[in-house]
């Protein structure tokens, strides 16, 4: 038997991440890609129901001026048991707001391993890769992996007519880039 060549150490680059839970499952997202964190309650006044056929993971849309942010239920997206989403991450440079159960902690990752090639279905769009935090492997989500261009087209087609926007409810927590 031959031992594989040792992994060549690469220069350490760290990235700030938020560890969050959906249905008890731990995920990570780069904190740079989270523009805002809000409580789900604070959005109840501003969110409008939407019904896009075949896309049950999005039930609400948030209107922001002429922009529409689609609230993706994290549990439905990942095929996990339904859970009461308590927080919403507004993801930077996307039209996605992600409903999650809660934040575990903020931490730093120093190594992101590409998703192994033996994973070969939708998860390749979902995750940027995997990281090990405190001897636990955590998938790092891809902010643009929650809604495909086809999904966005479906959702745009199902958007209810624009109403005069009211003042947004409670304030969220802005995340500095």
């Amino acid at each position: 038997m031959r031992l594989a060549a040792p992994v060549k150490p690469s220069p350490v680059r760290s990235e700030q991440i938020i560890l969050f839970r959906v249905s008890g499952q731990l995920f990570a997202v780069s904190s740079a890609s989270v523009q805002e964190v809000r409580s789900a309650d604070s959005l109840s006044g501003g969110a409008v129901e939407i019904d896009a056929p075949g896309l049950r993971k999005v039930r609400h849309v948030l209107r922001r001026g002429d922009r529409s942010l689609f609230i993706v239920n994290g549990a439905a997206h990942f095929g996990l048991p339904a859970s009461p989403g308590m927080l919403v991450f507004v993801l930077r440079k996307t039209r996605t707001a992600l409903l999650v159960d809660g934040i575990d902690k903020m931490t730093t990752m120093t190594r992101l391993q590409a998703l192994p090639m033996s994973f070969c279905h939708e998860e390749r769009q979902w995750y940027r890769g995997l990281t090990a935090i405190d001897q636990t492997v955590v998938p790092v989500v891809h902010p643009e992996g929650f809604l495909s261009l086809e999904d966005l087209a479906l959702l745009d087609a199902a958007l209810p007519p624009m109403e005069i926007p009211g003042e947004e409810a409670a304030e969220g927590t802005e995340f500095a880039q």
């Binding site: 038997m1 031959r2 031992l3 594989a4 992994v7 499952q25 995920f27 990942f78 095929g79 996990l80 391993q113 192994p116 090639m117 033996s118 994973f119 070969c120 279905h121 939708e122 998860e123 390749r124 979902w126 995997l130 090990a132 001897q135 636990t136 492997v137 955590v138 998938p139």
Partner: protein, 159 residues
Amino acid sequence: MTVSAELELQSFVLLRLGERRFAVSAGQIVELVAPSRVFRFPHHTPKIEGVILRRGRIVPVCDVAEPLIGKRLTSRRLYLIAARHYGAKTEWVALPVTGECELIHAELMAAGASDEPHVGGWISHAGDVIEVLNLDALTPGPDEIAKESEIRVPLEAQP
């Protein structure tokens, strides 16, 4: 045995899945390790149970028992870690096995046209004829899956 006959022999690792034995080319084997914690997260790839941490690497655990013996393993004693080539890229995969593994030397007989894609060849050992596994067929990557679906779509589209 003559020198020329010895040169024909290749090294294989024999592994056990349930009651059956299979062989993998020894050149593909990295190590044999005790089961460790499997980390699971949502995904849609069948046969992948999750990942383990090994020597600083995150290694997918691929249960190949179902296509080989028709059922999932109920008990496992070890993980056989193999190097799998995806084009120019090499990655490790952990294969759960139910018993001790054995290093043997045998002559490889080529697989026949009627053999399943996971059969890379055959060896004869201790009175048994044993399948040599083609790990590429057992652990397909995104490119292989895409090719398979390209082939399947026109076939399914036929009346």
